[in-house]
Symmetry: C2
Subunit: 385 residues, 2 copies
């Protein structure tokens, strides 16, 4: 682990992050939250953060939810294996592609049933994002706070989006980052996060993958991969942090910077707790169901500041490493890897009223596109320039 | 100006810094200060920041100061030309050395006289730092606030040091950075700052220079350079941003990254105004006298956070550039370039009670020493790796 980038990974842990995520026993003051966590781009878990939410007791009862949303048509995400916004083998090449879920408008009670009692080869996940909690699930709004008060005061704004997540143990979210400050409140069950700071971007082996989408046939119960037309490439992390035991050695050889570097921060967020997930942190998410047979969470996306930290990150990411894969992609066909919404659920296009955030993201995306030829990666950790 | 480091300089200005320093017409709230400036490592000037200070009216009258401090022995810094903590020609080699002022304990009225009516070839500057306002000038404490209330609340601590500066137009402070959040209040006259963000570290051409000190003889009125024993090297910026007109072209050829890159931020801070100078920003300072014939300022150093921004900075600084000067220095003989106090006025050694700050600076200094062989610089801007 010699080399300058490796020193950065170590130093950010020595100086500020430590080896475990800080846990607060009650909500911080806005100043404390801003000073000790947001300004430092450092995560924390807050216990007893939402004790007054009716959702905490109500949502563990499936019949409560099904009654409240009895006639709501919601966007249900379907995959064969719980891997949406993830890499799967390309059907006609010996490579991988980036696949999004089939999105099926479904009556909520039926969707919840599919999540709680999954049939074979069909994993359902309510994870529409795009501010879905305030649109598709507005009947539940009085069960939660409309925002996290101490976070809103610290960040000086209200959430840009509030999302509801209802899933089961089969669904995972692969490593990605978001251009938002994220307050993630678990209401039922547990969420298991793996976190890596933005300093560790090279350990994610982000590469361009052709974008596809599952198409699910209700007639024969089969999934088909459909590639986007015109062709589009998505920069995505190549690393599966939880490979099958049999392939661990092979994965370690392919992605040594990830598997041989500092361990990711492991965080389990339980019902009633809130995770502050700082902007630009890479996160991988698994989940365990609660009493009602599913995992339920509400997350609040707040605009991030595109400040010196972000400029440093872009600089770091732009540094070339010796390539193991000289694949080049036509400029202009690529998109930013800013979370699952980077594929079809593109939040920014829906929130174009916020000029500052939108403009800043555009700057970033332009740079990403300009630099796409340079984002290729090393085979071992001694090759950094 | 192609290249990745150059893109960083441009992007941090596009995203967050702009082309001029923000000016607030009244003090910010602690949250606003923390969110919009400290967290973003972004400077600002605050007008009407200290209207209630008795110092604002009292200190422009030299007799008031001389009476209040009639029997105070203060540390007067003497140089032949107003350049203390600066580079001067090495007396026995065709290179430069780093020179500190001769420090002469002097009765305050006599010191003030020397500053207000400078004799030939003798420039006096009261700039002891090391918390001098609360020690050498304690008789004046009731004329100012003991701290900047909104800054203390934002930063969650009281100042680590409060310093008084009394000088004339002949004194300059060469480019350097401090490991502190700095609130700089001008009481009389004006201070003229040139500022560069920490992203621009390579533009400072920091190199190791042998440390010397002026020794002033009151008998013959002459200065002699005395080199430190044992030999010690100080990393210092090689750039004089205000060279004589005749040498501008030559200086531009020697330091193209500075002279051809984005202009430094130019800031004039007037009496009654406060500059927030973020930690790790490079600053060069000149001054114009006020009504009393000198420039007077009080600055408050607050502990900085050694967070992800600091780790990114260290990484950036560690990146090697092709060398124009392969000078190597014995390890262990070098010191950190953390402001004028890095030479003899080493604040950290005086404040060793604060474990966290001291430890963090130690980490940094160790890294600086380890990497000293790599901090050599390019001749033109296209040579970055």
């Amino acid at each position: 682990m010699e080399g300058k980038v490796e020193s950065l990974w170590e130093e950010v842990r020595e100086l500020t992050l430590g080896t475990t995520v800080d846990r607060l026993q009650s909500p911080p003051t806005p100043l404390q939250f801003l000073r000790d966590f947001v300004s430092q781009n450092k995560p924390c878990i807050i216990s007893n953060a939402i004790p007054h939410w009716p959702a905490l007791s109500l949502w563990s009862t499936p019949s409560y939810l099904s009654t409240a949303l009895s006639s709501s048509l919601v966007s249900l995400h379907l995959t064969p294996d719980g891997q949406a916004d993830a890499l799967v083998p390309h059907p006609s090449q010996s490579s991988l592609c980036f696949v999004s879920a089939h999105v099926q408008p479904t009556l909520f009670p039926q969707a919840l049933d599919l999540i709680r009692r999954p049939p074979n080869h069909l994993v359902a996940y309510l994870q529409q994002q795009n501010d879905c909690f305030r649109t598709e699930y507005s009947e539940l709004e009085s069960d939660c706070d409309a925002h996290i008060p101490w976070a809103s005061e610290a960040l000086g704004c209200l959430p840009e989006a509030v999302n509801l997540w209802i899933g089961n143990h089969l669904s995972q979210t692969s490593f990605h980052k978001d251009h938002y400050e994220n307050l993630y409140a678990v209401v039922s069950g547990e969420k298991h996060f793996l976190l890596l700071p933005p300093t560790d971007v090279h350990r994610m082996y982000i590469k361009e993958y052709p974008a596809a989408r599952y198409s699910y046939s209700q007639e024969n119960g089969e999934f088909r991969l459909e590639f986007e037309e015109p062709e589009r490439y998505v920069p995505w992390s190549s690393v599966d942090p939880c490979p099958a035991r049999a392939s661990l050695k092979q994965e370690s050889l392919k992605f040594p910077l990830y598997f041989n570097g500092p361990k990711p921060f492991e965080v389990t967020v339980k019902a009633g707790e809130v995770l502050y997930l700082p902007s630009m942190w890479f996160h991988h998410v698994r989940q365990s169901p609660g009493d009602g047979g599913c995992t339920i969470a509400v997350n609040y996306w707040y605009d991030m500041q595109f400040d010196i930290k972000y400029a440093y990150f872009n600089f770091l990411q732009s540094l070339p490493c010796r390539s193991i894969d000289d694949q080049t992609i036509p400029e202009g066909d690529c998109e930013d890897d800013s979370g699952p919404h980077a594929s079809s659920n593109h939040l920014n296009s829906r929130f174009s009223g916020d000029e500052s955030a939108t403009n800043n993201v555009e700057i970033h995306k332009d740079r990403d596109n300009v630099q796409v030829h340079e984002r290729t990666f090393v085979l071992d950790s001694s090759m950094f320039v």
